[in-house]
């Protein structure tokens, strides 16, 4: 008995027909199983008859027992090789031959003795029994092979479904597995955004859906019934449509285009595969939905946290302005001059602070939306530093140490933006270091490619793990001293990147924070003027 254990391709399942329809690729393929029924029956008879000759010649008419065994053997071979009906015919033929040639009276079919009847009957009975047994075994083998094939298909499908990383990959491999299992061209159709069946995943090739097919697909999907070719519903369609029904409803349909000459009814294997595919699709869709929902929730959470913190920070100065100005309105005439001055100064300072906060927000918004306009021109870093120093030393009363090489070439930068970067860095340094420690600004050329600007403070510094986080939006390390939304370093990073530079933080030797950024140098910079030309008309 041959029990095939290899996967069979090109096998049209769904046709439980006779041996002629089954092309069983086994290890040893018996040519005899491809014979048509009448030929096989004839062959059975012929074999039974043929074996009579050697029986007579070699064994002689008296050796009835051995002859019987020979006949039985032949019948067994016929039943294994040629099937049930041929073997029954062979059994009958053998019995007749046996009776005719080996039972007394010879050359007649008469049975005289009960003993002869036993021999005759026994042989026939055994022959039929062997044939029947073989047939049953053959049927079982066939069923086992069939089962095994189904399991193979299912297993491959499940593996393909679990390996798929996306809906697209999932549907494409599922369609391919369906094709392998059913032999029909399979497509999986999912609903697109417009709720129409416009997402089709095919194992190969594309084609648009005809009206009839669309209707069949819709029917299958809404009624959870098979529709299309070979069914009562829209039989004019080009394919049969199986609904992909899962727990929450129908996720799509499978379109099957069976090969010419094969049945259009989807086999039980196809139906069960379809069910698995439906579940896998639903699972993927659900997990996608969950992921999106989680992301949305997270984004919403961050957004509202930021919104509340920002509005609080913006409201604070406004509240102060409101109360100071209301004091002036209500009690202005009763306040001493110094009191009025105090209120006015408070209003002025808070208004300035509010202006700064709003500007930061605007800048970061512009950075995010990519609409930051970098106006590059040849600029002197020395001048930029000069502006920064002017603003800081006036406002904050802190002294800054600078180290700027006198032969620094001009850089192609947006002076106003780079000034903003330095202001933000210095502001940051001021906020996080005590006033008895100086803040340093150093500029150094790094080869001929870039310039490194360092802002060094000697304050408390930050933890190494925070070195990259400080550039995050709304990040405020420690207690928020002096207000500020935590956007300064973010804006600085955005501007530096827009100039093609890098910015990073490190610890100052001896304690504190150093933030450095690079700006690229251009070889074509107009050079510094060396020496002086004599003034025309010089008198002395």
């Amino acid at each position: 008995m041959n029990v095939a254990s290899s996967i069979e391709k090109d096998r049209p399942v769904g046709t439980e027909g006779g041996p002629a329809d089954m092309i069983i690729k086994t290890a040893k393929e018996p040519w005899t199983s491809r014979l048509s029924a009448p030929i096989a029956a004839l062959l059975g008879v012929v074999m039974a008859v043929t074996v009579t000759v050697p029986a007579v010649v070699m064994l002689g008419r008296e050796d009835v027992a051995n002859v019987a065994i020979l006949y039985l053997f032949t019948i067994a071979v016929v039943s294994i090789r040629l099937g049930y009906r041929p073997s029954i015919l062979a059994a009958v033929t053998s019995a007749i031959c046996f009776d005719y040639f080996f039972l007394v009276p010879y050359h007649s079919l008469v049975i005289n003795h009960v003993r002869q009847l036993v021999t005759f009957g026994g042989m026939l009975g055994t022959a039929i029994f062997i044939s029947t047994l073989n047939e049953k075994l053959r049927k079982q083998a066939r069923a086992a092979r069939h089962s095994e094939r189904r399991i193979e298909h299912q297993y491959t499908l499940v593996k393909a479904l679990s390996d798929a990383q996306s809906i697209e990959a999932l549907c494409t491999s599922a369609a391919r597995q369906l094709e392998l299992a059913s032999g029909a061209r399979a497509d999986i159709l999912l609903r697109g955004d417009g709720d129409k069946f416009d997402h089709a995943f095919r194992a190969g090739g594309t084609s648009a859906l005809a009206v009839e097919d669309l209707a069949a697909a819709e029917w299958a999907s809404t009624r959870l019934e098979v529709a299309g070719l070979g069914t009562r519903n829209f039989p004019g369609a080009a394919a049969t449509y199986l609904p992909l029904g899962a727990a929450r409803g129908c996720v799509g349909v499978v379109a099957l285009r069976p090969r010419a000459g094969t049945s259009t009814r989807p086999s039980s294997l196809t139906v069960s595969m379809a069910r698995q595919i439906a579940m896998a699709i639903e699972r993927t869709l659900l997990s996608d939905e969950t992921r999106t929902a989680q992301l949305d929730a997270e984004t919403e959470r961050i957004r509202s946290a930021v919104l509340s913190s920002v509005s609080h920070d913006l409201r604070a100065p406004l509240a102060v302005i409101a109360s100071a100005s209301s004091t002036l309105v209500e009690h202005g005439d009763r306040l001493p001059g110094s009191g009025r001055d105090e209120m006015a100064r408070i209003i002025h300072d808070e208004a300035r602070r509010l202006n700064e906060l709003l500007k930061s927000l605007l800048d970061v918004t512009r950075l995010q939306s990519g609409s930051l306009h970098v106006n590059r021109d040849w600029e002197s870093l020395e001048e930029v530093i000069g502006s920064v120093l002017g603003r800081i030393e006036n406002r904050a009363g802190r002294h800054l140490l600078t180290s700027v090489p006198s032969d620094l070439p001009l850089l192609r930068i947006d002076a106003i933006l780079i000034e903003q970067v330095l202001l933000n860095l210095v502001d940051n340094a001021i906020k996080h270091s005590a006033s008895d420690y100086p803040i340093e600004i150093e500029i150094a050329a790094r080869g001929v490619e870039s310039v490194v600007v360092s802002v060094i403070d000697h304050g408390a510094g930050i933890h190494p793990t925070e070195m990259t986080r400080i550039f995050d939006k709304f990040y405020r390390g420690g207690p928020p001293t002096g207000g500020g939304l935590g956007l300064g370093l973010t804006i600085a990073r955005g501007i530096v990147s827009a100039h093609g530079g890098r910015i990073w933080a490190s610890s100052t030797a001896g304690g504190g924070l150093t933030i450095q950024f690079t700006l690229p140098l251009d070889v074509a910079a107009p050079g510094p003027v060396v020496g002086t030309e004599p003034i025309e008309g010089l008198a002395s």
């Binding site: 002025h348 208004a351 300035r352 202006n355 500007k359 605007l362 106006n375 021109d377 040849w378 600029e379 002197s380 020395e382 001048e383 930029v384 530093i385 000069g386 502006s387 120093l389 002017g390 030393e393 600078t402 700027v404 006198s406 001009l410 002076a415 106003i416 000034e419 910079a525 107009p526 050079g527 510094p528 003027v529 002086t532 030309e533 004599p534 003034i535 025309e536 008309g537 008198a539 002395s540």
Partner: protein, 217 residues
């Protein structure tokens, strides 16, 4: 805005007239012939920039443009079109008064009574004799450096755009070559300032140009 400042200005002895629109502003300029004009670049009806040349055509009075911080390019254009100086919102009363004083002083300069000597710190620039001296020593300047310094001195305490400086020193053909100006200003700073990174006199106005500061205003 005007409401807030009108009171302070009147306290200082100025008479204030205001116009809500560019059109009205032009009319007021024509009829009242003011000594100084404060122009908000964000006018409701006309583009503030367009008003500047029109006012300039009608009067030699100094124009100070007022704008929000992010309108750098507008300020440059306004200055090149004839404005004398600028203020950035929000500004304080002292800033406003200082600018007005400078503007009025420069107005007095226009015409035959133009000053020929400008002093800043212990420097003395003789515009006619084309010499710069510090105390009793002469400071050697190249012709270009001198031209630049002279331009700044002629508009002492007012901002001079880089374009104007280029035009004065090199001629109009060199417009938009800001690099040149920077290189020479760098050299001038080295000769004049004690600390080139903290200039006292040759002040750089980011994105606009330079200003020669002669007073401590």
């Amino acid at each position: 805005m005007i409401r807030v400042f009108a009171a302070s200005l009147e306290t200082e002895g100025y008479r204030v007239f205001n116009a809500d629109t560019g059109q009205r502003a032009l009319e007021e300029v024509r009829t009242r012939n003011p000594d100084l004009i404060l122009l908000d670049l964000g006018l409701p009806d006309m583009d503030g920039l367009a008003v500047v040349p029109q006012i300039r055509a009608n009067t030699t009075a100094p124009i100070i443009v007022v704008s929000a911080r992010e309108q750098e390019s507008d300020k440059v254009k306004a200055l090149d079109a004839g404005a004398n100086d600028y203020l950035t919102k929000p500004f304080s009363v002292p800033e406003l008064l200082a600018r007005i004083r400078v503007g009025l002083r420069s107005r007095a300069q226009v015409g035959d009574t133009a000053e020929t000597v400008v002093t800043f710190g212990d420097f003395r620039l003789d515009l006619e004799g084309r010499r710069l001296t510090r105390g009793d020593r002469q400071v050697r300047l190249s012709p270009t450096e001198l031209k630049l310094l002279a331009t700044l001195a002629r508009h002492a305490d007012e901002v001079v755009t880089t374009n104007t400086l280029l035009k004065e020193a090199w001629g109009s053909a060199y417009r938009t070559r800001n690099g040149y100006v920077r290189v020479y200003m760098h050299a001038l700073r080295r000769k004049i300032e004690n600390d080139p990174t903290r200039p006292e006199y040759l002040i750089n106005e980011s994105g606009l140009g330079y200003r020669l500061r002669t007073s401590k205003d």
